[in-house]
Symmetry: C2
Subunit: 111 residues, 2 copies
């Protein structure tokens, strides 16, 4: 990274998307910072994220329910709510806010 | 990281602090995710951050002015505003919001 870069997490967040929108904000060896915008999407039935990297993920606007495998109910994330999900802990997005965009910030950390 | 961990960035943000509050949310080899709460503090006169690591930093509540060495004026950050500051780019916090807590999220990435 040689140049200073700037942005705003809340800019250019469409109110309605066919698919979730993923934007990489910064990528360095072993680390990637990503903004995700959801507008009511959820993981497909039966789909689980099963990632080789650790993930720190936060909801900054809207709301979402993240189900961690083995837990009884999704964890409801409101703005500011974060999860640090170890590699290989399977999880899925049960729901995202249907009334407003949900803006996520995710930091992916390779082991 | 073996256990799932949870938190909220907006929880436990005191309205008035003598010094800025730094909380490490997640630390992994080469990466550290930190929440910072400022309540009107600024960098001391003449002080510059001059860091060996890259930093991605975002204001999530409140507001702040970050001066990058060589620039004419501080960059005013509102909620959602982020800067990716390369290692060794000197910078300082000229001001933070005097009327409400400023909540920052910083990701420090070792080269």
């Amino acid at each position: 990274m040689s140049d200073l870069r700037v942005g705003n997490l809340f800019a250019n967040a469409p109110a309605r998307l066919l698919d979730e929108q993923f934007d990489t904000l910064l990528a360095r060896p072993g680390v990637r910072i990503e903004r995700i915008v959801s507008t009511g999407q959820a993981s497909a039935p039966g789909f689980w994220y099963d990632q080789p990297q650790d993930e720190w993920v936060c909801v900054l606007a809207g709301s979402a329910g993240v189900l961690v495998e083995g837990e009884d109910a999704p964890r409801a994330l409101q703005p500011g709510g974060w999860l640090a999900i170890p590699a290989r802990v399977r999880h899925r997005v049960e729901w995202t806010d249907a009334t407003q965009p949900t803006i996520w910030l995710a930091v992916h950390i390779c082991p």
